[in-house]
């Protein structure tokens, strides 16, 4: 048994502090996305785990719901529209005295009708004469609200706010924008590693320089090319193939560099032996290099996929903001502007956009880390 020294306890506490500081923001967002939107707007998410006391106003049903039993007319119903798990403990019938009665007691309205409210929201309203008003009366209740969570926000955001479509669009951008550079660059990296040709070193140096060239340096000319191309052929300058190629271009240097770094480590005897045996470069590539590179393909796939999925700038410049093209990050930014106070939409939307990255993160963390450690430099 190791001794518990002061340093040990201190480092445990310090690390715990870091962990809490890092997880709390995301956790708060996640909890908020599961809360009822009315509650979310008036109380902090950290209050959602405890039973809270709320004062609310409900309205009884009107004359259509009355039934006659014996000499009396009754309206029997429940105050809550849907089951919320709230427990009423006091109620009142005037705004001056909102908690006048204990639950189960009978209150008297000014018009001599009587109402009894029960813990679960059921009420019986009794009158000697027929109810004449269409609108019911106001009932003030004090209730205990237990922690309650709902998936309503997700339904709303995915179906009504158009995030479901944006989700599909993002997939339609991210998959080819990851696969195309992977295909092109694996041939390219192979050539840079195993083929001899004039200008190879210069090309390699260009790749290394391109690694750090900021994206901003390329946006204006590429956009101009797209506009000219669109005008020339009478097609839209903003399209899926357009953004795939843009992402391919901006991710090309890092993908090639990572692959080249990996291919360098393969034993050259093996490649040379295959060549001596008469295999073409294409055979060597297909039958030896690709099977050996699967783990590094996985790392690069994850890095590029996450980069494209999380990108905002390229999506803004090269895709339209139509519902049929808008990507998640752009949609989220749009919501931040237009629905800035609707936290139920923002928190849920943000969480929807995070689902795929988080899934990849938790299931393929090993490859993700390996890719990053192998030298994550992105242009």
């Amino acid at each position: 048994m190791k001794k518990l020294t002061f340093t040990k306890v201190f480092s445990q506490l310090l690390l715990l502090l870091f962990v809490i500081a890092w997880i709390v923001p995301t956790f708060g967002l996640f909890i908020s996305s599961l809360r009822d939107k009315d509650v979310l707007a008036i109380s902090g998410w950290w209050t959602s785990f405890t039973t809270t006391e709320v004062n609310e106003i409900y309205r009884t049903k009107g004359k259509e719901d009355q039934i006659k039993e014996g000499d009396y007319y009754f309206i029997k119903s429940n105050l809550f529209d849907e089951k919320q798990g709230k427990e009423i403990y006091r109620f009142g019938v005037t705004s001056k005295n909102i908690d006048e009665y204990e639950v189960g007691e009978t209150a008297l309205f000014k018009d001599k009708t009587e109402i009894t409210v029960f813990e679960n929201g059921d009420y019986i309203w009794k009158s000697k004469e027929e109810f004449k008003k269409k609108k019911g009366k106001r009932i003030f209740v004090s209730a205990k609200s237990p922690p309650s969570f709902t998936l309503d926000n997700y339904k709303e955001v995915l179906l009504k706010e158009g995030l479901g479509q944006a989700f599909l669009n993002t997939f339609a951008v991210a998959l080819p924008a990851t696969l195309i550079p992977l295909i092109i660059c694996s041939y390219f990296a192979y050539a840079l590693t195993w083929m001899k040709f004039y200008g190879r070193d210069l090309l390699l140096a260009t790749i290394i320089a391109s690694l750090v060239v900021p994206l901003q340096m390329c946006l204006i000319p590429v956009l101009t090319i797209y506009n000219d191309f669109g005008a020339l052929f009478g097609v839209s300058a903003k399209s899926y193939p357009g953004i795939w190629m843009a992402h391919t271009g901006f991710g090309l240097a890092s993908t090639t560099f990572l692959l080249w770094n990996f291919l360098k480590t393969l034993p050259s005897e093996m490649i040379e032996a295959a060549r001596v045996d008469g295999a073409t470069h294409y055979d060597t590539f297909k039958k030896i290099v690709v099977p050996l590179s699967i783990p590094s393909f996985a790392s690069i796939f994850i890095l590029q996929f996450l980069w494209v999925w999380n990108d905002l700038l390229v999506g803004l410049v090269f895709l339209d903001k139509h519902p049929s093209e808008i990507i998640l990050t752009a949609k989220l930014k749009e919501l931040l502007g237009s629905r800035g106070e609707n936290w139920e939409i923002l928190t849920t939307g943000a969480f929807v956009s995070m689902t795929v990255p988080l899934f990849i993160f938790f299931s393929l963390q090993r490859y993700f880390i390996r890719g990053l450690v192998a030298g994550s430099v992105k242009g």
Binding site: V24, L29, L168, N169, A253, L328, S353, P357, L358
Partner: protein
């Protein structure tokens, strides 16, 4: 578009490239068998097939645009008339530009420093604690989240309600609980930059952490044990052994985060859009790309300024590459 038509588009896009390589190589093999064995010819065609697609993409999307952007920075807003240094002159006298340069410098100092520092400290702590790998996972997680997503997360943290109301943003709730006035954090000039930087630090610490963790494992245990036997405190070991050992790694992480910070765009664009004196170069550049129908001259000058920031790193990378090639 429906899910079906999207899937078809995606499939065609990817298949196009698969088929290109497949068919061209197949064709070359076919010709080789038929024609005489001219290896040199076959090889050079093969090289072209292997590198042409990547090279064309590299040329169209990186090489040509870099020089074109530099050219455009000397031209007017539509890129037609030469205007000399007009755009540069405008930049120097533009208050937004000055603000951006100052803010970018602030970002460059604060974010890489703190991310690297936190990453190093956490990697060291986590290495010696049994639940360290879980802790590392949690701290690394923000790396997977988009900047916009992180923006929403933190905007919620910074949310502001009037002094009488219930605070729903955690930071203000804490401030109120401690007896302070609630603040609209993102609208307090100068300080709001720190609140935006916090987001980037929150994300990038994970990167520093995993790279440091990998590097820490390469420190020989004998060295550490020897120091412990000699009675060195953990703090002393950290400063005198671990830090010097990780010098290269620190430099690498520093440059990665520096490059990232120079082009920081998403966070600013999503959170404040440069209001309340939080403007940075990348956001200003995006703004000029589209403001008033777009001004390619001014946009290019701003992009060029970002490039100037990375040139020292670019030169250093090339130098290191040369050194490696010699070995």
């Amino acid at each position: 578009m429906s899910i079906f038509s999207l899937a078809i588009t995606v499939l065609i896009g990817v298949l196009f490239f698969v088929l290109f390589f497949h068919l061209s190589n197949f064709l070359l093999d076919y010709i080789r068998v038929k024609a005489s064995k001219n290896f040199a010819f076959e090889n050079s065609i093969r090289v072209i097939i292997f590198i042409a697609p990547a090279f064309i993409v590299l040329f169209v999307f990186i090489i040509y645009p870099v020089f074109e952007t530099i050219r455009l920075s000397f031209y007017d807003k539509v890129g037609e008339n030469f205007v000399g240094l007009f755009n540069y002159n405008w930049a120097i006298n533009d208050p937004d530009f000055k603000r951006s340069i100052i803010n970018n410098l602030g970002w460059l100092i604060v974010v890489p420093t703190l991310s690297t520092f936190f990453g190093l400290v956490i990697a060291n702590l986590a290495d010696r604690i049994w639940w360290g790998s879980i802790a590392k996972s949690i701290i690394f997680m923000p790396m997977a989240i988009s900047f916009v997503g992180a923006g929403v997360i933190w905007k919620f943290m910074y949310d502001y309600r009037g002094p009488g109301d219930q605070q729903i943003g955690l930071l203000n709730a804490i401030a109120v609980a401690l007896g302070f006035e609630p603040q609209a954090w993102l609208t307090i000039p100068i300080w709001n930059n720190l609140f935006l930087m916090a987001i980037m630090i929150w994300i990038q610490t994970g990167l520093a952490l995993v790279i440091f963790s990998a590097a820490l494992r390469s420190i020989p245990n004998e060295t550490l044990d020897a120091a412990r036997i000699d009675g060195a405190s953990e703090l002393k070991i950290f400063w005198s052994i671990i830090i010097p050992y990780l010098e290269q790694t620190i430099l690498v992480i520093w440059t990665i985060i520096t490059i990232l910070v120079l082009k920081v765009f998403d966070i600013i664009y999503a959170m404040t859009n440069g209001q309340w004196q939080t403007e940075v170069l990348a956001n200003l550049m995006y703004d000029w790309m589209f403001r008033g129908g777009g001004d390619s001259g001014r946009g290019s000058v701003l992009a060029f300024c970002i490039l100037i920031g990375v040139i020292p790193i670019l030169a250093w990378n090339l130098y290191r590459h040369k050194q490696e090639q010699k070995v």
